[in-house]
């Protein structure tokens, strides 16, 4: 018994040491973000909540007609999320700020896929149906998708939606960043092109970041000093600047580290050189060996008494 116990601890110690050696693995996580992607800068101080972007999105993506007309402003009374029939929605928030006539000032927030630089959905997709393109779009390939919906679980912004009402050919659906349109020369996303006040500015992400910083610097009294999407989830192609803090307008707090960094680091370091299965089976084998020895002894003992 004493010996068995000692053996067990020895084996466990060896496994622990092996794990400790592997603490700094050969695998170091590297971002796969495209170097010069496109992006969109949404200036919430400009948005007037006209829902033209929703209408344009519906039109250019050939989505089914909405239940309520895009001209109807009453849908803003409740908070909505994008779903399989709507890739983008506008929500209205009241932060408590009032104008000089004591009227609450609304802030309109456009919600759609943020097109992360290192998307968690792409990392989670086990068949490569989702991919981050050079132009910045997180692209979905329906021919590869097996419908596992891991992307929906992985997305920190709760964006991908599933075609639950379509039993035969369901798809994961989300904003496409108008991939085909922006791939063409001079192409722009449907929502950005139609915005009557250019609350959405389309361009290279680096240019937009500079633009956002300039706007904040020129109007420090107007904007809060933060660009949502600059660092969130390791940076996103869609960026937001606002007059009211992002916490008050339904923006989800997201860690600034790229989300796949942690999960992929854990996974890749666990499986590099197959050390973890080898260690696991080593421990199991050790337990079997010692307990087998013990069992043989016990068997012999009653046999001896007989």
């Amino acid at each position: 018994m004493n010996l068995t116990r000692r053996n067990f601890f020895r084996l466990a110690g060896a496994a622990g040491a092996a794990a400790a050696i592997k603490e700094k693995p050969a695998y170091a996580w590297q971002s796969k973000a495209p170097p010069d992607p496109y992006g969109c800068l949404v200036d919430l101080t400009r948005c007037i909540g006209c829902r033209k972007c929703e209408a344009a999105c519906n039109r250019v993506n050939l989505l089914p007609p909405p239940d309520v007309s895009f001209d109807d402003q009453r849908v803003l009374d409740e908070k909505r999320r994008p779903d399989e029939r709507t890739y983008t929605v506008i929500n209205r928030y009241y932060s408590g700020k009032t104008d000089d006539r004591d009227q609450l000032i609304p802030t309109f927030v456009k919600v759609q896929c943020m097109h992360c630089q290192d998307p968690a959905c792409v990392s989670a997709c086990i068949v490569g149906a989702l991919s981050k393109k050079e132009n910045g779009a997180v692209h979905y390939d329906v021919s590869k998708c097996i419908g596992c919906r891991y992307c929906m679980v992985a997305c920190p912004f709760e964006i991908p939606a599933y075609d639950y009402h379509n039993p035969l050919t369901p798809e994961v659906r989300k904003c496409t960043f108008c991939y085909e349109r922006i791939s063409e020369q001079g192409g722009r996303p449907g929502c950005a092109a139609i915005c009557p006040v250019e609350a959405i500015t389309f361009g290279k992400r680096s240019t937009l970041l500079q633009l956002a910083k300039d706007r904040i610097k020129k109007n420090p009294a107007v904007y809060t000093d933060r660009i949502y999407g600059e660092k969130e989830a390791g940076g996103t192609s869609w960026l937001y600047i606002s007059a009211v803090p992002f916490e008050k307008t339904g923006f989800i707090p997201v860690p600034s580290e790229p989300l796949p960094k942690r999960s992929e680091s854990i996974q890749h370091s666990l499986f590099s050189y197959l050390w973890s299965p080898i260690a696991l089976y080593g421990i199991l084998g050790g337990i079997m060996w010692t307990s087998g020895k013990k069992g043989a002894g016990e068997k012999q003992a009653p046999g001896g008494e007989k």
Binding site: I48, K52, P196, E198, F202
Partner: protein, 264 residues
Amino acid sequence: MKRKVGLLLLFLSAVSTGFLPAYNGQGAGNAFAAGAEEKGDAIALTETEWKAPDQMAAQIRAAEEVPFVGKVKEECLCVRQQRLRDKGLSTKDITHRYFLLDSPLIRKEEDQYGPVRFMHSKHAAVLKDCALCHHYRPVDPEAPETTRCSACHQESFQEEYPERIGLKAAYHLQCTKCHKDMQEGPVGCTGCHKKNVPDHEKLVQLPEKPEPTQVTEECLRCHQKAGEDMLSSAHWLWKGHSPYTMERRKEVLHGKGTTVINNF
């Protein structure tokens, strides 16, 4: 006197029991027919719609392509205002009193609204400050002090000038901001634009002499939501929110919707 009251009571009871056909289907049908005639007149009127005498010229001006001004002189608003004042620019220097904001750039993405008819002189006379709209000037010293909006603001999202917004956004932001700040002038879409409603002459499908219910059904064929909204409104229920009264509630104790039966 007594007889008069008696007659009135008789009249009221006749209406409530439906003896008098004042508001039955036939009556409404006639009313509709009359409405259709009026509509015909209205069409005749639109054909001879009043047009500004310089409408054609404005239309031609709107379609003109203006050479793009890339760089503008960086100066603060106060300095510019003072400079324009010193130059003695006034409403007399205005070359065009009226503009039709109808550049092809604006109609590129959608054509849901008609062009804005901008009264240049009126705005200038009211504001007495050119710099509020003409906020920058080209760097070229030879160029005139004020230029057209479409000289600087043309296509949106230009890579060389990321902060330069497109013409449509420039109009919208400039106009609505000022209208809001001054609490003067329209800020909604249809305050400035005429909405391009599709021609209902072709959309409406009705027989020669339609029944009133047929007309309602035909409207509801497309405007289903409007019908549902009507059913939940005070026009149908005879009670509901009253946004213009104190505390947004108007208490109704008697009458339609409360104590009277059969009043719809």
